[in-house]
């Protein structure tokens, strides 16, 4: 019991950090899913690609850090667009099973091509502002942790403004709430889904760049990250941005704290156990979900 308390602050802080990443990945899922009812299993790959491409541009092409990051984000957004055009659009009328399998196929393609082009070694990026941890009370915190939180916060505000204040954002909202009505108004559903893929890819890439200085990115860790992001979104309340964020942090913290109690190898299972528990006891998630009719579950 003594050691549990000792590690608690550290576990908490790393949990919050990784929770922010899960929140961002979950947001990516929710964005696409609101526009189109699709679950994009390749979401995690966008994160990995963000980190890996930035690494390549920084070290291989020797671009300055901010420029490398920006170009990497744009490339990943482009990949997101291409994924829509090549995979999602042709299957727009197919069943959910087929779409799920297609996104899984895309995930396999993206992760293996990532490994092929950029190599299989884990990559890391320099932290944004130095490596010295500073102390808040007893807890050592890396500046990067704060960057992650800050950027997540800013990103959330930007997304909120986009969806509620701009015309485009409102169109996307309309398309997800009432596709037929939006269609009648001239809002092309396919265009909205296309844009949703771009936004998700961008958010994912940013998450990747944020997380790489702390944890390595690698071609193969995308799948698991994507799944956890999805679990976070379900946990918090499927279909809501706020749900994805809350779920992300809760998942991150719980997962991190569980390390104090169980062998580290089981860490990944924690997320899935949480998933099963939530689906069984409260499929609506913590905040409730407009999409799930709990009457019939």
């Amino acid at each position: 019991m003594d050691s549990w308390l000792y590690y608690f602050p550290q576990l908490l802080s790393s949990g919050i950090t990784i929770g922010a990443i899960y929140a961002l990945v979950g947001l990516g899922f929710v964005t696409i899913s609101r526009a189109s009812q699709i679950i994009n299993f390749a979401q995690g790959e966008f994160v990995m690609l963000g980190g890996v491409i930035t690494f390549f541009l920084l070290n291989g092409v020797k671009l300055p850090y901010p420029l490398a990051a920006l170009i990497a984000i744009m490339i990943v957004i482009l990949i997101g667009f291409m994924m829509h055009v090549l995979v999602i659009y042709p299957l727009r009328k197919a069943s959910i099973l087929i779409l799920m399998m297609a996104t899984l196929g895309a995930s396999i393609f993206l992760s293996s091509t990532n490994g092929l082009i950029f190599g299989t070694l884990p990559k890391t990026l320099p932290p944004f502002s130095g490596e010295h941890p500073f102390q808040i009370g007893e807890i050592p915190i890396l500046p990067q942790n704060l960057w992650v939180l800050l950027s997540t916060f800013i990103l959330l505000i930007v997304l909120y403004l986009l969806s509620h204040r701009t015309l485009l954002g409102k169109a996307m909202e309309a398309s997800s709430t009432d596709p037929l009505g939006a269609d009648l108004l001239g809002i092309s559903r396919n265009l909205m889904v296309f844009l949703a893929f771009g936004v998700s890819a961008g958010v994912g890439a940013i998450a990747g760049i944020l997380i790489t200085p702390l944890f390595f990115t690698n071609y193969s860790s995308g799948t698991l990250l994507g799944l956890k992001g999805f679990i976070a979104a379900v946990l918090g309340g499927w279909g809501k941005n706020s749900g994805a964020i809350l779920g992300g942090f809760v998942l991150g913290i719980v997962e991190s704290l569980s390390l104090a109690f169980i062998p580290s190898g089981y860490k990944d299972a924690v997320a899935f156990v949480i998933l099963l528990l939530i689906l069984y006891f409260r499929p609506k998630g913590i905040l409730g979900s407009p999409y799930i009719d709990s009457r019939r579950w």
């Binding site: 099973l97 899935f272 099963l276």
Partner: protein, 358 residues
């Protein structure tokens, strides 16, 4: 010069077109597939299966077909749950693993004969399936898919971590060959007859199920659960039954796999494997029993060809998956699609021939 070139093309044509013709025979005619009894073409298939390894006596071919048979058993069980009852499971690879590990542990540590371990594997998979099925099957659609995925992942993590019990990441070695009453299935040829024999037995069982009241109950649950309960069909029970049955088939397949490969390790049952078997079911076309078998043969063959490309194999695999889903979401088996492949193949060969002549 021109003569030999012509002949070359002819031979290669034959090589491509015969399998396609075979597939077209297998393809269920979409307007008559409700005639669910045993037909004359089943005898034809049986004949082909029995004679095939004797005609092509290449050992690599045998090995491939052994694997195909095992995967086909897996796909067949899964298709009862997905194709007929209309549910989704992305975690059946876990039952395959349970079967393999059950056999592995029983035969290597407790010296139980493989024949008994075989049935024990089916039992253990079925028992675990019935335990988790009760709660998971309350979910539908995406959430069922996710829950089964979650279960699959948890199983994988547990297997990897409990090194004492399951040998962890390394797995268990030294599983003996499958043997019945002293007759040991140690060559690929013998294993071929073993796996396909098991598959035939399970196929007959499934076909009987499908054309009986159980099959109708499955289809009813898939089409409309409310209507099914209104005629007295116990919907949760049917879902559980088909889930457990699929798991039992997977357990048997896993047991055979362990005996064929002599090892059991966690990497064989990962998410990639689940994707593969679900693809087999989809490609074969949901709602018929020949489909998953054809899908298994096709994908095993494709995987074999891909393995020659080393590090490019996975990206190509991803692309092929997507292409197959885009072009054949109802499965390759519909006559129209097969004729299309046939025509494209023929046209491509014709083009080559014309260019060759130039």
């Amino acid at each position: 010069m021109v003569e030999t070139k012509k002949n070359e093309f002819r031979k290669r044509d034959f090589f491509y077109l015969v399998p396609l013709w075979l597939i077209s025979l297998m393809a269920p005619d979409p307007y008559l597939y409700h005639k669910k009894g045993f037909k004359k073409k089943d005898l034809f298939y049986l004949g082909v299966l029995v004679l095939a390894p004797l005609i092509w006596s290449d050992s690599h071919f045998h090995h491939l077909m052994v694997l195909a048979g095992i995967y086909a058993t897996l796909a067949l069980g899964l298709s009862l749950f997905m194709g007929y009852a209309g549910q989704i499971s992305l975690g059946h690879a876990a039952f395959f693993g349970i079967g393999a590990y059950t056999t592995a542990i029983l035969t290597t540590r407790y010296a139980i004969p493989t024949f008994l371990a075989f049935w024990a594997s089916a039992l253990s998979a079925a028992v675990i399936a019935s335990l988790i099925g009760r709660s998971i099957l309350k979910l539908k659609g995406y959430f069922l898919a996710l829950a089964t995925l979650g279960f699959g992942e948890i199983f994988l993590v547990i297997v990897r971590e409990s090194t004492d019990f399951t040998g962890g990441v390394i797995g268990i070695f030294g599983i003996p060959w499958f043997s019945v009453m002293g007759f040991s299935f140690d060559t690929y040829l013998r294993q071929y007859y073993l796996t396909w024999g098991v598959l035939m037995g399970l196929f007959i069982f499934s076909k009987n199920l499908v054309r009986s009241k159980v099959g109708r109950s499955l289809l009813a649950v898939a089409a409309s659960e409310d209507a099914a309960s209104s005629v007295g069909i116990n919907v949760p029970w049917i879902k559980l039954e088909s889930f457990v049955l699929g798991a039992a088939f997977s357990g048997l397949a896993g047991s055979l796999f362990a005996c064929v490969m002599s090892t059991a390790n966690p990497e064989a049952f990962s998410l990639g494997f689940t994707v593969l078997i679900v693809m087999m079911v989809i490609l074969g076309g949901m709602g018929n029993l020949y489909g998953p078998i054809a899908g298994a043969i096709l994908l095993t063959w494709v995987m074999d060809i891909l393995s020659k490309y080393q590090e490019y194999s996975l990206p190509i695999y991803g692309v092929i998956l997507i292409l197959l889903l885009v072009f054949f979401p109802d499965g390759i088996g519909t006559r129209f699609n097969v004729r299309l492949i046939y025509l494209i193949g023929y046209w491509a060969k014709k083009k080559k021939r014309d260019e060759g002549k130039l």
